[in-house]
Symmetry: none
Subunit: 413 residues, 2 copies
């Protein structure tokens, strides 16, 4: 049996609900999508619940799931994925926190939870912290800058746990909290001690930093503390190639998605001009996927623009991004041909009038380059997808792709 290559195209936040500005159509219904419609002649179509019906996925839990990794097993909290998105690569039993640069007075009372939010010197502050705080009591400490005032902190060493409370009081005019053990284990006591020592050490370094002296001299708030929350232990993620036997690559410009893909061993490419926004280089990403398809069995192509437009409530933007998405498929079919298995879906629904993720299922299309009993539908969208034969969960996707690319191993005899 011929084994086919696999293209898996995720348009982030693709799913939607009827939009009044589009006369009750969803953006996917509104756009003509001539290239994607061409695939319908030999496709299965249906609805996917990225986690399970009604569960509102994050992009992290959803991508774990559609890559075949049960988030209920592997997802222990946002700290880990915030760190991965900020560039950390983790090992089993590392404990990661999300954090904010913030401002405290000399009594440790929080004056501003974001130190004025805009901190142009954040990279330099993180560098200084990494230089001056290498470890505490034998526990290695690494700092990563996310976006704006956001940082991630990773603790590595023996005897750590994520069963400790936040230091972030989540309100101003409150004192920075002591981290407390959340169970009776010695690991919780040990980790809470580390976090509290670390918090004082961070204050010492930041409060005496030349950068903050300059900020104060300019009338800005000093970023003299990091408030920590969301402790999460990293559960070692299996390598994608080890459980799928697929040599895999990804095209993405989004830090969190790139991080997840890298963490499970995919090669990750961000072509010039790819931004994660509506202004991204759509065809550059399609071309990058075509190049990768020549060398890899499995290429994951991630488009963030659909979700970015949805969060902004930008109907025209979402319509624009879906038109561009269809152009991307057309470019890939033109350049690579149609001798491959193609899955097209979203990682979750982000209705453009809601501007947030919802737990609605997303339409899913699976094109197969040989004769199958195809689902007879008129288009690829939320409404027509209900008439197809697929009603799957995110965790089923990899099995379907392996089966229809003739790469599945039999389970049993």
């Amino acid at each position: 049996m011929k084994q086919y290559k696999i293209l898996f195209f995720i348009a982030d936040g693709l799913g939607d609900r009827p939009v009044s500005k589009l006369q009750g159509k969803t953006p996917l219904e509104y756009v003509n999508k001539s290239n994607i419609r061409e695939l319908l002649k030999n496709s299965l179509i249906g609805l996917m619940d990225p986690i399970s019906p009604g569960v509102v996925p994050g992009s992290d839990t959803s991508h774990l799931s559609i890559f075949g990794l049960d988030p209920h097993k592997y997802y222990r909290g946002r700290g880990v994925f915030e760190a991965i998105g900020a560039g950390a690569r983790l090992k089993a039993s590392d404990v990661a926190f999300r954090g904010n640069f913030a401002t405290v007075n000399n009594e440790f009372i929080v004056v501003d939870r974001r130190a004025g939010r805009k901190i142009e010197e954040a990279d330099d502050l993180v560098k200084e912290l990494n230089e001056k705080i290498g470890e505490i009591d034998g526990v290695k400490v690494r700092f990563y800058h996310g976006t704006e005032h956001r940082v991630a902190i990773v603790l590595s060493g023996k005897g750590l746990t994520d069963k400790v409370s936040d230091t972030d009081p989540h309100e101003i005019n409150k004192k920075v909290l002591e981290s407390k053990p959340l169970d009776n284990s010695p690991e919780s006591q040990f980790t809470a001690n580390i976090v509290n020592k670390l918090t004082r050490k961070i204050y010492e370094v930041l409060n005496s930093s030349e950068i903050n002296k300059i900020r104060i001299s300019k009338g800005e708030l000093p970023a003299n503390i990091i408030l920590l929350r969301g402790a999460a232990e990293f559960v070692d993620l299996p390598q994608f190639e080890s459980y799928t036997k697929l040599k895999a690559a990804a095209v993405s410009a989004t830090a969190l998605i790139k991080g997840i893909c890298e963490q499970i061993g995919m090669k990750v490419v961000t072509p010039p001009g790819a931004t994660g926004g509506l202004d991204t280089n759509y065809l550059g990403k399609a071309d990058a996927a075509v190049e990768l398809l020549k060398e890899y069995d499995f290429v994951f192509l991630h488009l963030k623009a659909t979700d970015a437009a949805s969060h902004d409530g930008n109907v025209d933007g979402k319509v624009y991004a879906i038109n561009k998405m269809d152009e991307m498929i057309g470019r890939i079919l033109d350049k690579f041909g149609s001798e491959l298995v193609i899955a097209i879906s979203g990682d979750h629904t982000t209705p453009v009038e809601v501007k947030e993720h919802t737990g609605d299922p997303v339409p899913f299309l699976l094109y197969v380059p040989y004769s199958i009993i195809n689902d007879v539908v008129n288009d690829f969208n939320e409404r027509e997808a209900r008439r197809g034969s697929l009603r799957i969960r995110g965790l089923d996707v990899i099995n379907l792709l392996l089966n229809y690319s003739n790469r599945a191993e039999k389970y049993g005899a």
Copy 2:
């Protein structure tokens, strides 16, 4: 509520894809099936994923699943089901291996991995091994002959595990491997030692066997070793009657299926002329099912011919077997009447042009002998099944059968 008897008819490998020789129809679409179509007036119909979407089932994992036993819990590897198919009945913590009769020289280098493949004396060799090797270091050893050069070995005793490596080097001109522990437990060390002692003992017995002396004198390769692979621990299978309250029987001519049915406590009948091939005694099997329905609540009727034809790429054969399958249903309705619940499906898809199992869903029909809201479809096949209301997994089948036969117990109060 009247409780009905249940007939569960599995045509092995029934599902298919469009077949060019049948003008793009599947074999199920191509065959008229007047008796099965008669059932559609009061049936639910739909698609079943024997394991989950896209997963390619083996006949062993699939039958566990459709009998209500989660293979992810009960399936530990092929050794166990090879042994069951070869006639072994296992107890919890028994460890089973698959093996080949093979030929080694006196330095234990493999000369032929199948000892010439055709070993007419295999039953006698197995008998001699069972007589001469009863146990090793307190571990009971049993040998079973499968088909051709294949054997299964079952170890019973305390302190055993399946965490040991194969002795089969999987290539000729390589030395028989030492079995090695795959973890640090004392059980792995103990089991690996047993396997290595057993391998030497097998060589001693077989190499000095009169049977092999005769083979050599005829210019044949001696079957003087058994190469072991696929160690698997038997996880005790619950008895079908204990979790369904159904007195159950099965009609089958296929060793693996008979073994699974017996292992979960069903009475198993193989009528005269039933072969597991296209030449099987179709109506004899139907008649056997009718007889069993008089005494048992649940009768499982297994037809292997559909799968045999599929693996051979024999389109006409599959069409023939499906015609016969319809005759079998007709015979049962004639002789027993239609006052029973009938499920008809396959254990997996084996497209006749692919000749191997695939992970496509299989059509599923559930006939009920009283008024229900039936699914309005034109036929029972892969295409029409998509229009029905059922979209189930193998593990759902027993619950559906219990519900519609009015035999289900309420889950909760």
